[in-house]
């Protein structure tokens, strides 16, 4: 499966989806005008990956800021990972946030409460 790497910009996060190395990361700032367009590639990749995933998938998210449409797209990603988990695959979502960023911690808690998939909050 081809890896997906998207370099960060001032408005979009860095994306590393590498099934060979088992690295799944979305980090940085996410305020694209076309969030759907940006995250479509990510969602398609996960959809493809979910057909034959690694024994364990640990997905790291470390976002400093994101807009509401990105929030919906993140939720779509989480839903896909949740589906993988429900299908019997080992999946864990790690929500990293700056220790002094209460809002981002609260956002992680919101997602955690909404989803039925192991969701860890990791202050850094």
């Amino acid at each position: 499966m081809r890896n997906l790497v998207i370099e960060p910009t001032s408005k979009t996060p860095k994306v590393i989806l590498n099934a060979d190395l088992g690295i799944f990361e979305i980090t940085g700032r996410s305020i694209p005008e076309d969030a759907i367009g940006f995250y479509r590639k990510v969602l398609d990749w996960i959809e493809e990956y979910s057909k034959n995933p690694l024994p364990e998938t640990a997905f790291k998210f470390h976002l400093e800021y994101f807009n509401t449409s990105s929030s919906k797209c993140l939720l779509d990603i989480f839903r896909k990972l949740e589906r993988m988990h429900k299908n019997g695959h080992k999946v864990v979502i790690r929500w990293h946030y700056d220790a002094d960023d209460e809002d981002m911690a609260e956002t992680g808690q919101d997602y955690q409460a909404l989803l039925d998939v192991p969701f860890e909050l990791v202050p850094v």
Binding site: T68, K72, T107, D110, Y111, L114
Partner: protein, 153 residues
């Protein structure tokens, strides 16, 4: 494609499906119960999603508002600083102007003094020239002049 279709494609697809079922109408009570159950489940999920998104949108707005307030404060502080600097520049400009005037006055004085020195030097040169001429070149006339002064002639 509408915004709704873009952001909620699965929910929109399900809605269309439910609508088609309802319009068709030919379902058994069990099928109705099942479809209604799925509808409730999806509606519940959608509600939770909207709750989370609304909460996050409010958080983001608050965050932006906080940043905006900070920027406003920084802008005020910068304005005050700029005002202070402008006053300082004004005072220094006055100072520079005053110094320039003093310099011009001094140059003027120096010019006058220089001119006076040149005039004095010129007069001295003329006197020395005369003395030198009568002492060493036209001695006869000098002797006659001195004699005339003493009343010998």
């Amino acid at each position: 494609m509408s915004q709704q279709d873009q952001y909620f494609p699965e929910e929109t697809a399900f809605l269309e499906e439910a609508r088609a079922k309802a319009e068709k109408g030919a379902l058994s009570p069990e099928e109705w119960r099942q479809a209604y159950g799925i509808l409730i489940e999806n509606y519940e999920n959608l509600l939770k999603t909207v709750e989370v998104l609304t909460h996050q949108a409010t958080q983001l707005e608050n965050k932006l508002e906080k940043v905006r307030s900070q920027l406003e404060l920084q802008k005020k502080a910068l304005s005050m600083e700029v005002e202070g600097l402008e006053k300082q520049v004004h005072v220094q400009q006055k100072e520079v102007h005053k110094k320039a005037q003093e310099r011009d006055f001094l140059y003027d004085q120096m010019g006058k003094t220089r001119l006076m020195l040149i005039v004095i030097l010129a007069i001295l040169l003329v006197i020395v020239g005369f003395v030198f001429y009568y002492l060493f070149v036209d001695t006869e006339r000098m002797i006659t002049f001195v004699k005339r002064l003493r009343g010998l002639e």
